[in-house]
């Protein structure tokens, strides 16, 4: 069975007046059904304000749905007695690395989650070592987080989540504040966790190159899921994506424009290599004629 199962989820942000009466409500997530299989790498795309972060916060019960239900690893997020189990099964990494590192030393920060779970001391150390090695930050274990680069900080944050041994990690724009090198570091780390440890990954991002390796892409707009499928399926609808104010990978865009100009290329080209291959195939076909 799927590790995340959301049914008809809706969420309203309420605005209260001074007496605590609801003044207005705005719907951030609207009737969303979401199914994620264990071990999948799922990317979520969407324009600013489309409700991605709000949806993500439902997955480890930071927010509870106004309507509908969310099941994580078979547990209902509304069930308060399961709250800590859910937070353990689904870890979350946020955008700003500075605001999610609690410890003043790298290893202490990674140990924070296991400490909260009441893991015995020896095992905490074992987990800290494992997870720091998994993200390639073991050599920095006794550094102060303030002295690390953005990408390194973000990898420490990921290690902090990995140390809780979650089945699923939700990353909300983890690379938004990083330079291209830091972005690559972080994405490589996440993909490796997914491939080697079979951790389910939900990656929210604005960068298309981080999406093309995903097993599944979900596009959100105005609180609703408007498209989903493999990257190839989703990116073959360039026109539609543009309507949702989204970019597409550069190669996809070029292929799309060429198609419009009358050059017969296949749909859903994702990378430069694919584009070159397709163009060469096209030229050969023309020469043969």
């Amino acid at each position: 069975m799927g590790i995340i199962k959301a049914r008809h989820v809706a969420f309203d942000y309420l605005r209260m007046d001074e007496e605590g009466q609801v003044e207005s409500r705005s719907r951030a997530v609207d009737d969303v059904d979401l199914d994620v299989e264990a071990g999948d790498f799922v990317a979520i795309l969407g324009h600013n304000g489309s409700g991605k972060s709000t949806l993500a916060k439902h997955i480890n019960a930071i927010l509870l749905p106004t309507e509908g239900t969310v099941f994580v690893d078979g547990k209902d997020t509304q069930d308060e007695s399961k709250l800590w189990e859910i937070r353990q099964s689904a870890g979350m990494v946020f955008q700003n690395p500075d605001n999610q590192i609690i410890g003043t030393i790298v290893d202490e920060d990674v140990g924070f989650g296991p400490e909260n779970m009441g893991v015995p001391q020896d095992e905490i150390w074992q987990r800290v070592e494992e997870s720091l090695k998994a993200v390639g930050m073991w050599e920095y274990r006794s550094h102060s987080p303030n002295k690390l680069s953005g990408g390194q900080k973000q990898r420490v944050a990921i290690a902090g989540v990995v140390a809780m041994r979650p089945k699923c990690i939700v990353l909300d724009e983890p690379t938004a504040m990083l330079d291209p090198n830091g972005r690559q570091e972080v994405i490589r780390t996440v993909r490796e966790l997914n491939r080697r440890e079979h951790v389910t990954v939900l990656l929210i991002t604005h960068y298309m190159e981080e999406v093309i390796h995903a097993d599944k892409v979900i596009v959100m707009d105005q609180g609703k899921i408007v498209m989903q499928g493999t990257p190839r399926e989703v990116f073959s609808h360039v026109g539609e994506l543009k309507r949702f104010r989204l970019d597409v990978p550069q190669a996809t865009l070029v292929a799309y424009e060429l198609q419009k100009a009358g050059i017969a290329l296949p749909d859903g080209i994702l990378s430069n290599e694919e584009l070159i291959g397709a163009l060469e195939a096209y030229r050969k076909k023309r020469q043969n004629k």
Partner: protein, 272 residues
Amino acid sequence: MLRDITLGQYYPANSVLHKLDPRVKLAGTMVFIVSLFAFRSAEAYIGATLFLAAVIRISKVPLKFMLKGLKSIIFLMMLTVVFNLFLTRGTVVFRLGFLAVTEEGIETAVFMAIRLVYLIIGSSVMTLTTTPNDLTDGLEKAMRPLGKVRVPVHEIAMMMSIALRFIPILLEETDKIMKAQMARGADFESGGLIQKAKNMIPLLVPLFISAFRRANDLAMAMEARGYHGGEGRTKMKPLVYRGRDKIAYLLLLLYLVLMFLVNRIGFFAGLI
């Protein structure tokens, strides 16, 4: 200006003092401060000076770092000195208009100044040789008995350690905002006190907004990692007393006794 505060600025070095249990260092600082205020003879101050000098030596932290903390209290110190100098009654040494400087005044002023300086240096020794986390762990453990009378000991310790972690981040941010505002023509230097305070507003408003946003994010991140107070929490680096800690406690006791004796003897000598 802001970065002169040494508080929470750990100076990594490999000394015995660094390795001591934070509870010992807390107790040591307390003992030292108490000794400064309880024993008020010249001999006792010599004793305190020797003790402080020895501790600084052992700590392997350059003196420069210890003295940094003093900059932030210069104003306070001047104030105390001036007040003591002019407002203590006794044998008049000389007059400045309607103000009289007395022998007793000079004495209290000098001692007060020494006390304040030692107080700051003494606590700097502790914060420079103890990681913020150790410090709060130590406090948490030392204050545990207060938990019985419903003092939220764990929460206080957690708040302190977070504050300590964010001080450098917020200072850096202050600097950044200051520079950004200066680039747009803001002026933080000139004008009177009121004008200066007013000039601070474009600095403080964005700083507060960002601090609140950080606090909000951090609270969420902590919750997401399963933080739910001190209950049922285990420790990755629990505090355990070792041999050297016991020796340090003994030395502290010895210091107190010696100071007491020196003070007494000094006192008697003064009588004769």
